[in-house]
């Protein structure tokens, strides 16, 4: 188990390899379909959101306000990342993102951007909304809530020992490509 703590420097990120189990401590910014399209079309990051050396989490959490009017994350697993493939590479390069957390993996353009910029794709366990919500120790802020609604907003989350697996690294390797190729070959034998 590798413990990855903020600041998420290029050196730390380039040291990660496909298959590494990692626990993250630091700040994550959620961003999913609406945010990616918005940023890719030239939208400005709201003041307070800094993605340089940052980590984007593909997640639309369930968040409620508690009795003291504080945000409380009730459920927060990853959403399927491949929908952001048209936008992700540009966002990694433009904003200096070091890590993308999601599920299901991403494609060639994102993999190339990870290699060029020094970024990684970190796979969280899809559906594990409770285990992952427990790793969120604080909701620091929320942005673009009125524009996009709660699941699509940018939530700034403090996390502690948030568990992920490196499935695309900064050296051009993708576990998703490898499993697809191997499973295609196995299927061909059985048709």
């Amino acid at each position: 188990m590798i413990h990855l703590t903020a600041p998420f420097t290029e050196e730390k990120i380039r040291a990660l390899k496909v298959g590494d189990a990692v626990e993250i401590t630091g700040v994550l910014f959620t961003g999913r379909d609406a945010v990616h399209k918005y940023l890719a079309k030239g939208g400005e990051l709201p003041p307070g959101v800094n993605l340089r050396d940052g980590i984007i989490y593909h997640c639309g959490p369930v968040v409620l306000k508690d009795a003291a009017s504080q945000w409380k994350v009730v459920a927060a697993g990853p959403t399927t990342s491949i929908r952001e493939e048209p936008y992700q590479a540009g966002i990694i390069e433009k904003f200096g993102v070091r890590g993308v957390i999601g599920k299901g993996g991403m494609g060639d353009r994102t993999l190339a951007a990870c290699k060029a910029s020094g970024a990684v794709y970190l796979h969280a366990i899809g559906g594990a909304a409770q285990v992952l919500a427990e790793k969120i120790t604080a909701v620091r802020n929320v942005y673009l809530m009125d524009k996009f609604g709660s699941p699509e907003a940018i939530w700034e989350l403090q996390v502690e020992r948030f568990p992920v697996v490196v499935t695309m690294d900064a050296h051009g390797r993708s576990l998703h490509q490898e499993v697809f190729a191997a499973s295609s070959a196995e299927l061909a034998k059985r048709l």
């Binding site: 959490p61 409620l64 009730v74 459920a75 899809g126 409770q130 919500a133 709660s150 490898e178 499993v179």
Partner: protein, 292 residues
């Protein structure tokens, strides 16, 4: 308070927070089969922890609480309009309580009013039967797994799939291959062979109401189910597409008549976070028994 509405809120809560026993048993077996020390095994361990934690905290297993699909079987004369009204109110309440995410978006404006109620949301499927029983089943189907569903039209030349059961086998396995881990595998397939495009998908979803350990009474479909389950689990896609020994937890297939010109195979993929529950209600709407 409306008794029926309260019962439906409880049905939503339990569906969102608790995995049905048949699914949990199957996941446990898959965990035991997985090779120790692999990322596949640790994925299953997190899944196991998550199932326990969601139940204990009475909170959603998965933050994507999905499309809300009600399947209602009632006697002739059962008031479907009153049921749908109670259902919509229950969904709104359950959303306020955090059992459901604010998950319903106006497709034209992109607006999410936070109620989970709007055109087509939630969805009600009513069926009449001759008995006096009222059975309500609920499936919460997340978007990740819904997105990897597929509908094939046979013959499918690229896949060398003809209009026969072997052709069906080829396209169903193709759906598994294409899904990889994107639908939060290991998953369960609901399949319909035949029908028009809409009823094909509709029937593929109602296959997900079957318990995982049941067997298909139609021998050729039973053989196809067992074959696809075994073959898919030999492909090495594994949980989350990490590689591993369990790619599917179950396969459920039915057939429907088709017109001579059409031969559709419709595949719905359900994630491991298989949110499905059901209740028998009395006439007043009180819960009598749980179905899963």
């Amino acid at each position: 308070m409306n008794v029926l509405q309260d019962s439906l809120i409880e049905l939503i809560r339990r569906t969102s927070a608790e995995i049905p026993d048949d699914v949990q048993r199957t996941i446990l077996q898959a965990l035991e089969r997985e090779k120790q020390g692999t990322i596949a095994e640790s994925a299953f361990q997190i899944i196991e922890q998550n199932i326990a934690l969601a139940k204990q905290k009475s909170q959603p297993i998965c933050q994507d609480t999905g499309s809300v699909l009600f399947y209602v079987d009632g006697p002739v004369g059962y008031d479907q309009i009153a049921f749908a009204e109670a259902g919509r109110a229950a969904v709104t309440q359950a959303t306020k309580k955090g059992y459901l995410r604010q998950n319903s978006v106006d497709s034209l404006t992109g607006r999410n009013d936070g109620t989970n109620v709007g055109p087509g949301a939630p969805t009600f499927h009513f069926h009449q039967h001759r008995s006096a029983e009222i059975a309500v089943r609920l499936v919460l189907k997340g978007g990740g797994c819904e997105n990897v569903g597929a509908q094939y039209s046979l013959p499918a030349e690229q896949l060398k799939a003809d209009r026969d059961l072997d052709g069906c086998r080829k396209v169903i396995l193709d759906a598994v291959l294409q899904a990889q881990g994107k639908g939060c595998g290991p998953g369960v397939l609901g399949v319909c062979i035949g029908g028009d495009r809409a009823t094909g998908y509709e029937f593929s979803k109602t296959q997900l109401l079957r318990k995982l350990d049941d067997r298909n009474p139609v021998p050729e479909l039973d053989r196809l189910e067992q074959d696809i389950l075994k073959t898919a689990n030999e492909l090495g896609i594994g949980p989350m597409g990490f590689g591993g020994r369990t790619t599917l937890l179950g396969v459920k297939i039915r057939a429907a008549n088709r017109v001579p010109a059409s031969y559709f195979v419709s595949v719905s993929y359900m994630c491991w976070a298989f949110r499905r529950q059901g209740v028998m209600l009395d006439e007043q709407g009180s819960i009598q028994t749980w179905l899963y």
